[in-house]
Amino acid sequence: MDKKRRDFLKVAGISTLAGLGGTAVVDKIVAGASPAVANASTAAHAEKDTAHAKAPVAATGKRYGMVIDVRKFQNDPSLGEKAERACIEAHNIPEFPEKKDEIKWIWMTNYENCFPEKSQLYKDETTESHQVPVFCNHCDDPPCVRACPTKATFKNKDGVVIMDFHRCIGCRFCMAACPYGMRSFNWRNPRPFIKETNKQFPTRMRGVVEKCNFCAERIGVGEQPACVEACGESKAMVFGDLNDPHSEVRKILKENYTIQRKPSLGTHPSVFYIV
């Protein structure tokens, strides 16, 4: 009799524990399975799928994005250099003598490197000679955020994918996860290699990953990203809220045929290119 009672208490105790603990764990997993913050969705989704969307994704929330007019970079080849310089100066990006240590947030590359899936045997002359700026796509479903084991990289409410340099452990999982190769690592102390330190933005230490942050520090105070500002009146780069149907980016997207980098991967980039 006694033994049975003991057994009963054991079973009851364990099932209670499992009930309490188990659900908590499951909740945590379910909550964690979706990326850290997902308040914005693709512009197209927001309009079409609001009714069908699994989670009520805020069509009203901001989702920052950019449209690049590659033709304008073609017309004025100095624009690329200007945008790169502006970014380097705004974000204290070090310039190393060795390519192995290289850190870059935005740079110009060939059309075929930017869009490897769009190669063709006989390209037209402009496409062949196009230099295209590449930088973080601030994906709506970013693989880097999914991979990060510490939430050091996360998606902000306005759709911008940013880094917490103080939390990053430097495992570089995000670098393997980014299908666009847009992330850099501080292989050594970057500070001696910063030409002129901008006191408005933190410098980094060795051993952490970094990438374009859409100038979160500037757009937060109502300014344009540094690269957009550097392109000036040319409108080679236009920045704005993709979720706002009256924004300039949306207007441009409506009037032009644009392409994105590797759309087949389902990352939903927020950067569009007019070629």
Binding site: G181, W187, G207
Partner: protein, 390 residues
Amino acid sequence: MFEKALKGNNYYWMWLAFLGFFIGIAVICYLRQYFYGLGLTGMSRDVSWGLYISQFTFLVGVAAGGVMLVLPYYIHNYKVFGRITILGEFLAIASLLMCLMFIMADLGQPLRGLNVLLYPTPNSMLFWDMCVLWGYLILNALCGWVILTAERKQVKPPKWIYFFVYLSIPFAISIHTVTAMLYCGLPGRHFWLSAIIAPRFLASAFAAGPALIVVLALILKRVANFDAGKEAINKMVTIIIYAALANMFFVGLEFFVGFYSNIPGHKHTLTYLFFGLEHHGHVYNNLVPYMWAFVALFLLGIGLISHPYTRKQSELWLGVGCASIFFSFWLDKGIGFVLGGFVPTPLEEIVEYYPTANELFITIGIWATGFFILTVLYKIAIGVEHEIEA
């Protein structure tokens, strides 16, 4: 039981001193890396994981391989493995400790490692990898120690330990599955983005792990008067043969999918690894010799361990055969798989990786540390065996 590791003949101490020498060098090299940063390695923004992570990946397999002894012994009551199951469990401990050291060596900010626990992130496979690796390490340490203690006292192991022994079996499968998921869930890395990665990892693990155990058992027979038994070795070799063949079958399937579908992304890395990849007039092929050595050593090894003469009559050739399989799969997974996956880069450029001397010495030193731990653990296990026999 630790006192058993403190008594040994000259060869024992010389071997430990030999390993200690490499550990010492590695400590100095690691301090250099710690104060300078990972720039002392050959890694770059294009090949962002190098030898450390590739060794980690391979060693997870070696650790998981121990389950090929645990499973037949505890589930199927295959008594012949009784004497050597402890070798598998202790090998798993040493391998997992090496894995953890390689991870620490690879972190840019090792002091922040606990952030993985402080900010648990279930959508990251690295978080789960940490959970299963630590789980498997603790399970093996617990089971190995409790069962060895019982053996020493010549009593049956306590019943409760069997729960953990059985639990260690799915854990062994999970450590290598989750390690495969670090790679095969990444969009845009075509070589890794394949559902066969996890089965392939397991197959090569179930060959490489037992192959190392056979080699170790043959060495122990000579130097430590510990005989694993002919039947046990023979059965393990059978396991190795089937697992090794399964691995090669899976590699062959990767080739079929890539080259029959003719999709460039699926072919690039395989071409780079085995034939060299041409890009803007230059052929990049620094891993090609390793890959063909992988194939050659596999053929040599499988020949030696399959042929009745070398398998049953000659312990030397059997040892060479198993060592060939082990090195072959080390080249496959510990070199080719991880490093090859970064070629070409997402921007379709090719950057080749060459490890630096500093990085190589750290790698060698971590291996030496693992074998140091393994030697001590095996010394204890065999000391207990001898004590019972005496």
